[in-house]
Symmetry: D2
Subunit: 352 residues, 4 copies
């Protein structure tokens, strides 16, 4: 291990469902290695293997399995911390670590909308990384916090970005059919999932609206939200992984379904330019079959890091509509934070 | 049985999944009794019990169980025929029966959009029954065909009608999450349903648009489609019964969510006025809980004959949005035809 | 209400999933009426409607909806209490109420195996009611506790009883496929249920063995467990309601599948003799189709109070095998307690 | 491609669900390459991509995608043919190919029980390959047919083999909970799968009994079935992939759960000795957790080629019991045939 040149990282909230995904995706990562695992006091004194009810079908990485669990309050040695902390404890811990000099890449919603904390999708708003200068100066921190979006917002925004660039966007209507893994474990009760749809997910519709505006907006010393109106209806369906979203858009200028498809297909951003290790070759994969994307068939496209789009067609009300699907715990959570960390690294912004 | 004064009816396509629902709902009906059961030649020569792979949790009515299956081509004695025929055979058989003097109440899509055949929801467009005069005269038939809408369209239109009357409607955006029973049996493969959403149902989106316009439109000797633009996205989810639909509407004039709820709650139509046996007391049930309606909890509201609405709230794009749920094989299929037959009876239009 | 001659009853643990089933099944009961609802302090001060996340598809009975929730510690006026209390609080509360003179009919496992507390299936061991004399005398109680079996054991034992009587039973091998509602709400996580089988239910296999022996055994001042060896393997499957069980039996003397079916079909017990209101006409329904019983089709047989048996055939190892299905929250829980209460009533053993 | 030294193989029934699995597993195989794809005339004239409704989450291999579909009757150039043909056409086609000199490795049940055709699990009865000499001589064929077992039998027998060797086996009781993919596509209707268990799979229980005896038996010029009594109860549950089986065994001599676990853990056979490319390192993986194996977590163990065992414990009736899980379309179908082909290759028995 001593010859391992990779940057040591801590995973906060490591035993939970997004925490597990962090540990799994970081196995064999070329730049980072899992060095510290942090969880609530209930797990302290155990190894990761003992503390964790591992729920992924990929197996628990051997290196992580024998690491001891640290307490929320313990000092962290790794310069980088990935956070999958529960909302109620995230604020204090993440801020403390940033103050102490760590780069905190957080999947938690707590800090996403703060005026000096970047909410990032590297393909969409890589320039927002500059907000950390303001953040560090204003808060007197030597480290920083950067966040990734909600699991439904990120996939929608990925598909919106090329349309915004090419045609402008006035309004977006979206109805989601979200996987149960989005609620963590135990999360959604089986009695709510079997033979049922629950047409409500607390604060999800609000997040889709406000995060979209921040993500598609600019940064010029402060965030300038994009003037895109979003109306979301969010539903929980009986799917393990993969959020399906039916989207309808009023573009700034007319575009045919073929033009929309072309814009999506040719879309690439900073991660593709830079060849970041977790970057999908194609951030958006457009399928031509009439009955795709489907969660079971398409959620692992580009290792779960792409958004998959299908059924692009005219909408008689708003102009154009389509269906998108994305993996909600890979690109929609842990994978998003890791890609953010990769961006910060090549930008020379990690404290290492 | 000789003293049974009820009108004998035939069920066409009786062994299929909507056919079974007809037989089940007609058990103990005060006005009709199942006298004849018609199915494809594969079933001929068997009793209903022998020919049918009964898939409902309500038990097979004893009276129907011992009836012999008739062939598609056999003469029908009953004045009324309920049709759950497969599309490819429906046209010829339904027309022959209408020509021979039967009232054919059809759940099949074949004739729904024809210019002299009523597409009916008794609460919505009861006056369209008058189209059968034109139909009979024009075609030289002594009987007639009347149809009920697609299982997704009917519930949406039920909830739209009071809004159209009170505020006018310009445009309706809808995303459906439809139950597998809508595709019959065997219908949707389990490999398409478990842990999956299929974002496509053939011709469903088109039906929702065109049927809505016919249903909400007028009849003055010919049908005058309502100028309501409908944009539908239809999905199949892992639910047995009950279609959930997320709707967003641009009203003709502004209305608050409370006004919308009041209009729906106070809505009633001809079936309620006439006290038809299958009529729900409340065609639309509005629920206040934030997480309703849910398929598993609400689909049997008013014996499956009501549409259940929840989450009425402002839509920042179109004005108002809500979620609705309706039973797709009761009010969405067999129950709809039976209610139509009840309307024809009290209007004196059945050939009895 | 003053003219209502029915016996007032309390439901303990009324807001939980078995508690809800008690309230639902007691609606319109000819002998009992729900007068008091007891739940944890979290619910106190609310009405039942406010306190309860009602999860049944039958609607909440109007009479119960407006009753105030009482605290576990509050005095109870009703002579009869049905208990769906969580295990950790059941012991103390049930004993206190029995001491104070109430008849406590409990679905909780806490007291099932105690040497002076009857574990009852009225069709199987109605004579065990006499144990309450010993119980009252020994403990100095004016009331008593009587229990019903585990949801898997009760259905299996119902089907074993006629075989025990006719042929004797040496050994029973059983593999269960149990519904998620057996774990209450929220209970089983959807991530454990969708696309999965969990081959373990804590203490379930032990209960099936020991409860079977007590139920099939005698009472002669003390319980004499039946010398039947039971080997159980218990699994949780993705089913809402209805436990399916594959059983294989070594009978005391040989019997053909037809003889086994005949014994089951002709089986009846005290509830059928006495015509108890909740008694199924046929406690065991034997089906001939090769692919029955099925949870979705058969669980509501006899209003959920019967065990449904199919596929009776020779077992080359133990002699005979079959599949059984039973509703786990009706006959397997609340319905069982209510039937017990009905038996105590006609036996003149209720404190009223 | 000309420099590709791998053996060209044909896949018969390539568009079906096991056929797709063959194509997927053969991608990048070190010894074999997919050269020909055969399907029913409906697909002829199309490429594999056009003809196939690909249902695996792994993507369609690029090399296969552009191959043209051949008709059942077309001549085959590849020396090896993997068969996933439907039962009704398998017999004639497989025999013709064997007669013409091909090695036919078949997953179809048609020929499994014939007295000169090996039914193989390379870890269990590798010596049965010698039956092809008798087969070729007796039938006058230059090629041969070899088969792999039913998807439920293969995993059970894998776990039985080390117990047979160490302790002897008299009798095996098994109840299966089988995945829907075992029935192909469309296969099991979603209305049979959602919220349900179907306690019947045609001919499955018979296969488990007779195939087990052939597999565990000897070959000395003819097959000598092992005198093991098997009693199976087979169920279909709502799982996509992975059969779970509850097994109880009467051993020839007593063994503790630890001894059983040790025998399984130390088990290896010819594929492990020979280092066959598809051989799992551990054919049987024994887990210690109380609630494993689970389909969702364990079915891909050793790339789907291992049987996973858990909960080994005493059975009070037969002696020892446990739960096993295996991937039904990898080790249970296509992977089994491929491993068989690898064995024939190193034995020098392929016609190449």
């Amino acid at each position: 291990m001593s010859s391992d040149k990779r940057i040591p990282v801590a995973v906060l909230g490591a035993t939970g469902s997004v925490g597990q995904r962090f540990v799994q995706l970081l196995e064999n990562h070329p730049w980072f290695r899992v060095a510290e695992l942090v969880a609530s006091e209930r797990s302290v004194g155990k190894t990761y293997r003992e503390a964790t009810d591992w729920r992924l079908d990929a197996f628990m990485p051997a290196e992580a399995a024998d690491l001891p669990i640290k307490d929320y309050g313990d000092p962290i040695a790794s310069p980088v911390a990935f956070s999958a902390l529960p909302g109620e404890v995230a604020s204090e811990i993440e801020q403390r670590l940033a103050r102490e000099g760590h780069a905190v890449l957080s999947n938690t919603s707590t800090h996403r909308m703060e005026p000096d904390i970047p909410l990032l999708i590297p393909e969409v708003n890589a320039d927002h990384v500059r907000a950390i200068e303001v953040q560090k100066a204003g808060r007197g921190w030597s480290g920083f916090i950067a966040t990734n979006p909600n699991c439904s917002a990120i996939h929608m925004v990925l598909t919106l970005k090329p349309l915004l660039d090419a045609f402008g966007i006035d309004a977006v209507m979206v109805t989601t059919m979200q996987a149960v893994s989005g609620a963590g474990y135990p999360g959604v009760a089986s009695l709510d999932a079997i033979d049922n749809v629950v047409p409500f997910i607390r604060t999800e519709e609000e997040k889709m609206a406000e995060e979209t505006q921040k993500l598609l907006g600019g940064w010029d010393g402060e965030f300038r939200p994009a003037p895109v109106v979003v109306s979301a209806q969010c539903n929980r369906v009986s799917v393990r992984d993969g959020h399906t979203e039916c989207v309808s858009i009023r573009l700034g200028q007319n575009a045919s379904p073929d033009e929309v498809a072309d814009a999506m297909r040719s879309f690439a951003g900073r991660p593709q330019e830079l060849g970041l290790p977790s970057a999908p070759k194609r951030p958006i994969v457009v399928r031509d079959e009439p009955n795709r994307p489907q969660a079971i068939l398409d959620r692992n496209t580009e290792n779960g890091m792409a958004s998959v789009v299908g059924r692009i067609r005219p909408c008689p009300i708003l102009g154009v509509k389509y269906v998108l699907l994305g993996h909600n715990t890979i690109r929609g959570a842990a994978g998003a934070s890791i890609l953010n960390a990769e961006l910060f690294k090549v930008e020379g912004l990690l404290p290492v």
